[in-house]
Symmetry: C2
Subunit: 220 residues, 2 copies
């Protein structure tokens, strides 16, 4: 079974198509590794792009914000949104500027956003978003207050079509350039976590949980 | 002198306005720290967002791609583009999901893109883009071939209006929640660089330059 997203005019990758994939599992894997997505929509016929945390469930990407915020009201009204998640993996230092580039994993999603209604559905989406950036944290925290759920606007973006583009090839220089005595290679990059910083008002004796400690070692 | 970008309907930050800045120096500082921008534009009345490397010179952001690529052709034609650069600095683990958030530096730019014409102007912009992601590398590499300059499409996005949003506040919980015996604090994040990986076809005895080694210690 070909479990891929349909190809359309919008999601078809034209540049470096050998790096492209429309495979559902590949798209999901990149989405699941990220922390922040960039959501683009049209306002007054012009483009706007906003960074937001997110979570995925099947072919739905959930986003949230203050219920009254511009981004939630606009996403609620618009029929089309585009979302990109890009994870940087390295700088490719080739023997020419022209062939220098980045290593990355990137996913672009096109779909129709809708407002999630009802406390139970909203809470479920809020949990999915929370678990994406803070795995295991939701169950450690007090339950959300009704007022907090009401104040939160949750958007579900159904993935109608999507593409992944993964660049991990290293250096690929022009034949003639291999004779140039300049160093070439890859400078790997990763989003890494530092030592936990205690809040000033921590109660005595309260230590980070195993889930919080595990976040420090997360691979993005 | 108030050296700020003008406020408009598009760039005015409505949520958490205390984190917002329209100050030119703040906007430039965030842009200068980033490696990849997200560019949004409108195609067939729908939004598209694409990650691109970039460079800044004054109030111009330069972008490039293959001359014939969709993104360059669309940016050449469109009158409006929106660009966002977001740098993640930490995860704020509050005592409730509602107050948990991220620490970040983010800039959003609105402007009119135009195609840069002429070899000298293109080459200058290509150097600026190269120096943003690979400081000091341009002068180590051979000159760009005429064919490479012709094959590269360069876009200049003039910053007409912009905003920065900087979140570095740490935990800010509800008064009642400080009594809950759960750990709270910040998990710092940074984009960090690993050990250089030699290209397989390196000439014997060729070592990374000081500029390349300095990239490993760059603060993003």
């Amino acid at each position: 079974m070909d479990d891929s997203y349909p190809l359309s005019r919008t999601n078809k990758v034209r540049q470096l198509p050998e790096k492209a994939s429309y495979d559902r599992a590949t798209v999901h894997r990149v989405l699941d590794a990220g922390l922040v997505a960039q959501i683009a929509f049209v306002q007054d016929r012009g483009p706007v792009v906003v960074p937001m945390i997110y979570g995925r469930d099947g072919d739905t990407v959930f986003l949230h914000g203050a219920r009254k915020s511009r981004v939630i009201r606009l996403l609620e009204e618009t029929e089309r949104a585009c979302l990109n998640v890009t994870l940087l993996d390295g700088i490719v230092l080739a023997r020419s500027a022209f062939n220098s580039s980045m290593e990355y994993r990137s996913v672009t999603v096109f779909g129709t956003p809708r407002l999630v209604e009802g406390s139970a559905a909203k809470l479920r989406a809020m949990r999915i978003i929370s678990e994406q950036s803070m795995p295991g944290r939701w169950d450690e925290l007090r339950e959300a207050h009704d007022r907090e759920i009401r104040m939160t606007g949750v958007i579900a973006l159904e993935i109608e079509t999507a593409s992944a583009k993964i660049s991990d090839h290293g250096v690929d220089d022009e034949d003639d350039d291999y004779e140039i005595p300049v160093w070439a290679g890859v400078l790997p990059m990763t989003l890494s976590f530092g030592a936990l910083v205690d809040d000033d008002r921590l109660l005595p004796g309260v230590e980070p949980s195993a889930a919080v400690r595990a976040m420090q070692n997360r691979k993005i």
